[in-house]
C-alpha cells in the first residue's frame, strides 16, 4: 500500500476552486515532484496535506489513516513534516534551538520539570542536544549551532528548515520550493542533501519545485498541476515530455 | 548596549527638563535644611496632578495662605513655619512616597493628605512614626484610626447621617433618590450611612443609582430613573463637577426635584462659566461658603483670588483651618521645634481635645476635637438663592 494516498482532494476559496479533485499516490521511500505554473495550487495542496486549510472534500490517507481535516499539530504527530516556500525559521532563536523545539514532542517533560530543573530536565535536554547536533551535522550546520537562525546565509536557512522538519521524526517530508533563490552550486549541493536524507532516513519526500534541473535530477515520479487540477502524472521523464505539460509551461 | 543607551537617554532628557524648568520652579515650595531647629517643618500631601488635582491644589494653596499669614505675624510662639507640599496623584503608593520624601526633608507635622484612600495609607505610616497629622479633607472614618490623626472635615458617616436627619427634620421629602459615585470612597461612604439613617427616619429611597470614575459624563439614565421613581428629592453625595452635569441634564429633561448635597457640592458656584441658575434651590450641607460675609472668609477669598486667580473651594478652606489648628495645638502644648517628631506628636495630640478653633469652616462657631481625631462642628445647610449660598 502506498504511504500517502490522496483521493478527490478539493478546496474552494469563495468561488475559486483552488484545488479540484486532486489525486496522488506516493510509495514509501519515493522522491516525488509536484510542479505546475504559478497559481496552480501547489502550495495550497501542501496546506491541505498539513491541515493549514481544511479541505471541502476528499480523503488523505497516510499509512492507512485518514488525516484530512485534522489539526496541523496532529497531522505532524501522525508523521507529516514540511518546509515553507518563504522560509519560516524561528529567527530569534539559535540554530540549535530551532531543531530542539521540533524535538520536544519526542523528548517530553512538563513545564514544571523545566521550571524546577528536576533531574528529568537535564536528562531530556542532554538527549535533545545530542539528537539535534546529530541532525545538524547531516546538514553541515553543526559549526553554527549557536548563532541566530536569521544570521545564517540563505542556503543554510533552507537546510535548517529541512533539519527542523526531520527532527519531528516524520514518515513523510514535504518540501516547498527548497531550491528557490539558490545559485546552481547550492542547488547541486541541495540535490545531494535531499538524496542523502532520503537514503539515510529512508524518507518519503514530496517536493514542489520550479527548477527543472532539480526536478528531473532527483524526482522519480511527477505530478503536474494546472488550475487546481492534475494535468499529468507518472514517471518524471515521461511526464516532462508530455505536450500538454510543455504547453502549460511555455504557453501556446 | 542599545538598551543602556536608551536608559541614559531617558536620564539625560529628564535632566534637561529639570535644567530647562528649574528657573521657573514653583516659588511656593521652599527647601530647607532639616537640621535647623528654629522652625516648624510642616508638610502637605495631596493630588496636584491627575484627575483629583482640583482638590489637592486647593489644599496646597489654602495652606500656603495660612502659613504666609502666620509667618508674617511672627510665627507660632515666635517660630517660623517651613511649608512644603508634595504630590500624590490621588494614589496610596505615591502618597507614601510623598510622605517619605517629606520626612527626608525634615517634616515634623503633616497636614494631609487630601483624599481618603491615600490618607489611610499615610495614616498607617504616621502612626508608626507617631507623627502628628491633621487631614483637611480625608473624610473616611478609617483615616483616623491612629490616635495621632485628626480631621478638619466632617467624617463621611456623619455627613450621611446629618443629611438624612436634616431632610427628615425639615420634612423636605419622603421619596428620595440618590446618585453617587460607587468607585469613590467619599461618595459611597456617605451614601451607605445615609441609606441606613434614612430608613430609620422613614425616608424612602426610591432609586439609588451609581456612576463610576470611568463613566461620569452621561447621567441621563440615572436622572430618568429618579424621575420615573417619583423622587421629590435627589441626594447628591458627590463632588460638584459631576453635580453640574447632573443639574444640566436634569434640567434638559424638565426634571426639577429638590437637589440636596454635602460639602462636595460646595464650589459649584465657582465653576467657571457655570450657569448658576441651574443650581437655584440646591441645598447643601457645607462648612464653608466662599461668599460668606464674615471678615475672615472675605479676607481669605480675596487673598486667594489675588494669588491664584480663582475662587477658593472648601478644600482650600479646610487646609487653611488645618494650619491654624496646628498652630493652636502647638500654642496650647507649648511645643518647640527642637522636639523630636514623636515628642511633638505626643504633645500635640494631647493638646487637641483641649483646643477650640474658629476658622473658615466652622461657620463662626468653634471646632473642637475628640481624642479619636473626629471634629465636632455644626453642619450648616445652605440653599443657593439668586446665585449665592444663603444660610437657612
Amino acid at each position: 500500500m502506498a504511504l500517502l494516498e490522496v483521493k478527490n482532494l478539493s478546496i474552494a476559496f469563495g468561488g475559486l476552486r483552488a484545488v479540484d479533485g486532486f489525486d496522488i499516490s506516493i510509495e514509501k521511500g519515493q522522491l516525488y515532484g509536484l510542479i505546475g505554473p504559478n497559481g496552480a495550487g501547489k502550495t495550497t495542496i501542501f496546506n491541505l496535506l498539513t491541515g493549514v486549510y481544511k479541505p471541502n472534500d476528499g480523503i488523505i490517507n497516510l499509512d492507512g489513516k485518514n488525516i484530512a481535516g485534522m489539526r496541523t499539530i496532529d497531522i505532524n504527530k501522525a508523521g507529516v513534516a514540511r518546509t515553507f516556500q518563504n522560509i519560516r525559521l524561528f529567527k530569534a532563536m539559535t540554530v540549535l534551538d530551532n531543531v530542539k523545539v521540533a524535538l520536544q514532542n519526542e523528548y517530553r517533560y512538563s513545564a514544571l520539570t523545566g521550571i524546577c530543573r528536576l533531574p528529568k530536565y537535564f536528562k531530556m535536554e542532554k538527549k535533545m542536544n545530542e539528537r539535534a547536533e546529530e541532525l545538524l551535522k547531516v546538514f553541515d550546520l553543526d559549526g553554527q549551532k549557536d548563532i541566530m537562525a536569521s544570521n545564517l546565509p540563505y542556503g543554510k536557512q533552507r537546510k535548517l528548515e529541512i533539519a527542523r522538519a526531520l527532527a519531528t521524526n516524520p514518515k513523510m517530508l514535504l518540501l516547498d520550493e527548497p531550491a528557490a533563490g539558490m545559485n546552481p552550486n547550492e542547488t547541486q549541493e541541495l540535490m545531494d542533501t535531499i538524496r542523502f536524507v532520503r537514503d539515510t532516513f529512508d524518507m518519503t519526500i514530496l517536493l514542489i519545485e520550479h527548477d527543472m534541473k532539480l526536478v528531473s535530477g532527483i524526482c522519480e515520479q511527477l505530478t503536474v498541476l494546472n488550475f487546481g487540477k492534475v494535468l499529468a502524472q507518472g514517471e518524471t521523464s515521461v511526464v516532462l515530455k508530455n505536450p500538454e505539460v510543455i504547453t502549460a509551461y511555455l504557453g501556446e | 548596549m542599545k538598551r543602556i543607551l536608551g536608559l541614559i537617554l531617558v536620564l539625560v532628557m529628564a535632566m534637561s527638563v529639570v535644567a530647562g524648568c528649574g528657573g521657573s520652579g514653583n516659588d511656593t515650595e521652599t527647601t530647607g535644611s532639616s537640621t535647623a531647629s528654629d522652625k516648624f517643618y510642616i508638610g502637605g500631601i495631596g493630588p496636584i496632578t491627575g484627575a483629583a488635582a482640583i482638590y489637592g491644589q486647593g489644599v496646597k494653596n489654602g495652606a500656603q495662605i495660612a502659613v504666609d499669614e502666620i509667618n508674617a505675624a511672627g510665627g507660632i510662639n515666635g517660630y517660623q513655619i517651613e511649608y512644603k507640599f508634595e504630590d500624590d496623584e490621588h494614589d496610596a503608593e505615591k502618597a507614601v512616597n510623598a510622605y517619605n520624601t517629606l520626612k527626608d526633608w525634615g517634616m515634623q507635622i503633616l497636614m494631609g493628605t487630601v483624599t481618603s484612600t491615600p490618607c489611610m495609607a499615610v495614616s498607617a505610616k504616621t502612626a508608626e512614626d507617631n507623627m502628628f497629622q491633621v487631614t483637611p479633607s480625608g473624610s473616611s472614618p478609617d483615616v483616623i484610626v491612629g490616635d495621632n490623626t485628626f480631621q478638619i472635615c466632617f467624617s463621611d458617616p456623619n455627613q450621611g447621617i446629618a443629611s438624612a436627619d436634616y431632610i427628615a427634620e425639615n420634612a423636605l421629602a419622603t421619596k428620595v433618590a440618590v446618585i453617587y459615585d460607587s468607585s469613590d470612597v467619599y461618595s459611597s461612604g456617605i451614601y451607605e450611612k445615609f441609606a441606613s439613617q434614612a430608613e430609620s427616619k422613614g425616608i424612602e429611597i426610591v432609586a439609588a443609582e451609581a456612576f463610576t470614575a470611568d463613566n461620569k459624563s452621561d447621567f441621563s439614565v440615572q436622572i430618568q430613573k429618579a424621575k420615573d421613581a417619583g423622587a421629590e428629592l435627589v441626594f447628591l453625595p458627590i463632588y460638584y463637577t459631576e453635580a453640574t452635569l447632573i443639574l444640566k441634564q436634569a434640567n434638559s429633561i424638565g426634571y426639577k426635584p429638590l437637589f440636596f448635597g454635602c460639602d462636595g457640592l460646595d464650589g459649584i458656584l465657582g465653576v467657571e462659566n457655570f450657569d448658576t441658575s441651574l443650581a437655584e434651590g440646591v441645598m447643601l450641607l457645607t462648612p464653608f461658603a466662599a461668599d460668606a460675609t464674615d471678615k475672615l472668609t472675605q479676607d481669605f477669598v480675596a487673598t486667594y483670588k489675588e494669588n491664584y486667580g480663582e475662587v477658593p473651594n472648601q478644600f482650600a478652606a479646610d487646609a487653611y483651618d488645618a494650619i491654624y489648628t496646628i498652630k493652636a495645638a502647638i500654642e496650647k502644648s507649648g511645643a518647640t521645634p527642637d522636639m523630636s517628631v514623636s515628642e511633638l506628636g505626643d504633645a500635640l495630640k494631647g493638646a487637641m481635645p483641649e483646643i477650640a478653633v474658629v476658622g473658615l469652616t466652622g461657620k463662626g462657631a468653634e471646632m473642637t476635637w475628640a481624642a479619636t481625631g473626629e471634629v465636632s462642628k455644626k453642619p450648616m445647610a445652605v440653599t443657593i438663592k439668586n446665585g449665592v449660598y444663603t444660610a437657612n
Binding site: F90 | L11, M13, T49, M120
Partner: protein, 325 residues
C-alpha cells in the same frame, strides 16, 4: 571543558542578573543598617520589587510570547484583593506572620493564574490590537467588579453582595472586609524588602528557567512563527494558556506584595486601571523585549526618576513622554 548544559552565554547573563539583585540587596541592607538610606528610598524598596516582578512577568507575555497585553494590572488587582481578603480574614486565626503571608501569596498567585487562564481562552482566537483591547477590557471589568463587591463575615460565615454593605445583613459584631469602592482597610503589612527581593529572585529564576526549557522554546517559536510552530507539532493553545497563567500568577504575586505593603487597598484607575498596565508595558518595551535584566532596570529607573524629580512637580509628567520616545 564546560558542561553541555551549563555556562553558555545566556546562562552566564542570567547569573549576572541574579547577582546584581543579590548584590543590590546586600548593599542596601548595609546602607540601611548604617542609617544612610533616605526615608523615601526605604519606602520605595517594596514598591520597586512590585514593579520589577510586574515587568518581568509581563515580559513573558509580551516579550517571549509576543502578545500585547494591556490588562496586566487586572491580574495584579486579583492577586492583591484575594490575598488581602485572606489576610484580613485570618489575621486573628493565623498569628504566624510568615505562614499567613505564604498562604496569602499562594492564594493571590493561584487566583490571578485562574483569571489568566480565563483570559487566555479568547486570546487564542484574537490577534494584535483585537487581543490588546480584549485584555484591556478584562482588566477594566475586574476593576469595575471589585469596586462594587461587598464581602463581610460574622458569626454565621461569609456574606457577599454586589449592592452595598447593608445588603450583607451582617449580625452584630460582623466585619465588612471588602467595602466596595472603599476596598480593604487594615490589611496587615506583612511584606518587607527581604520578602520582596526573595520574590523578585523567584520570579526571575522561574522566568529564566522557563525560557531555557522546552516550554520557553515552544513559546518563543510561537512568537517567531506561529505557522511553522504548528507545523512541527507545537500546541499553540496549550502554550499560550501556560504563558498567560504564569504571567498572571506573578502579577498576582506582585499584587500580594503590593497589598501587604500598604494598609489600604482600593481599586482605582491609577493603581489597577489600564494606566498601570500601560506603565508596566512601558517598562517592558524600554527594557527590551524578552530582556529580563532590561525589564528590571527600566522598572527601577522609571519608578525612581519621578520620585527624585518631585521638586519639579508640575513638570513631572512631561518627561515621562520624553522617556517614551
Amino acid at each position: 571543558m564546560k558542561k553541555k548544559i551549563g555556562m553558555n552565554k545566556s546562562t552566564y547573563n542570567n547569573m549576572i542578573t541574579l547577582g546584581i539583585v543579590v548584590a543590590a540587596y546586600i548593599i542596601i541592607q548595609i546602607l540601611i543598617s548604617t542609617g544612610s538610606v533616605s526615608s523615601l528610598m526605604e519606602g520605595l524598596l517594596v514598591p520597586l520589587c512590585v514593579y520589577v516582578i510586574l515587568a518581568i512577568s509581563l515580559n513573558l507575555t509580551v516579550g517571549i510570547l509576543g502578545e500585547l497585553s494591556l490588562g496586566h494590572a487586572g491580574f495584579m488587582c486579583v492577586g492583591a484583593f484575594a490575598s488581602a481578603f485572606f489576610s484580613r480574614l485570618t489575621e486573628d486565626l493565623i498569628t504566624a506572620t510568615y505562614l499567613r503571608f505564604l498562604i496569602a501569596l499562594i492564594i493571590g498567585a493561584v487566583c490571578a493564574a485562574i483569571f489568566g487562564i480565563i483570559i487566555a481562552v479568547p486570546v487564542l482566537r484574537l490577534k494584535g490590537d483585537y487581543l490588546a483591547i480584549t485584555t484591556l477590557a478584562f482588566g477594566e471589568i475586574i476593576k469595575n467588579v471589585v469596586n462594587v463587591m461587598y464581602v463581610g463575615k460574622d458569626s454565621t460565615g461569609i456574606h457577599f453582595s454586589m449592592k452595598n454593605a447593608m445588603d450583607l445583613n451582617l449580625k452584630e459584631g460582623g466585619d465588612v472586609i471588602i467595602k466596595g469602592a472603599q476596598g480593604i482597610t487594615g490589611t496587615p503589612t506583612d511584606s518587607n524588602f527581604t520578602i520582596g527581593i526573595i520574590l523578585v529572585l523567584v520570579t526571575m529564576i522561574v522566568v529564566m528557567n522557563i525560557i531555557k526549557s522546552s516550554t520557553g522554546r515552544a513559546i518563543t517559536s510561537i512568537r517567531d512563527n506561529r505557522i511553522a510552530a504548528e507545523s512541527i507539532g507545537i500546541n499553540i493553545t496549550k502554550y499560550k494558556v501556560i504563558t498567560f497563567a504564569i504571567s498572571a500568577a506573578f502579577a498576582g504575586v506582585a499584587g500580594v506584595l503590593y497589598s501587604h505593603n500598604l494598609s489600604t487597598l482600593t481599586a482605582t484607575p491609577k493603581n489597577f486601571g489600564y494606566n498601570m498596565s500601560i506603565l508596566i508595558l512601558v517598562f517592558v518595551v524600554l527594557g527590551g523585549m524578552g530582556n529580563i535584566r532590561g525589564s528590571m532596570i527600566a522598572a527601577i529607573v522609571l519608578t525612581l526618576i519621578p520620585e527624585y524629580l518631585r521638586f519639579m512637580q508640575d513638570y513631572r509628567m512631561l518627561h515621562k513622554r520624553k522617556g517614551a520616545e
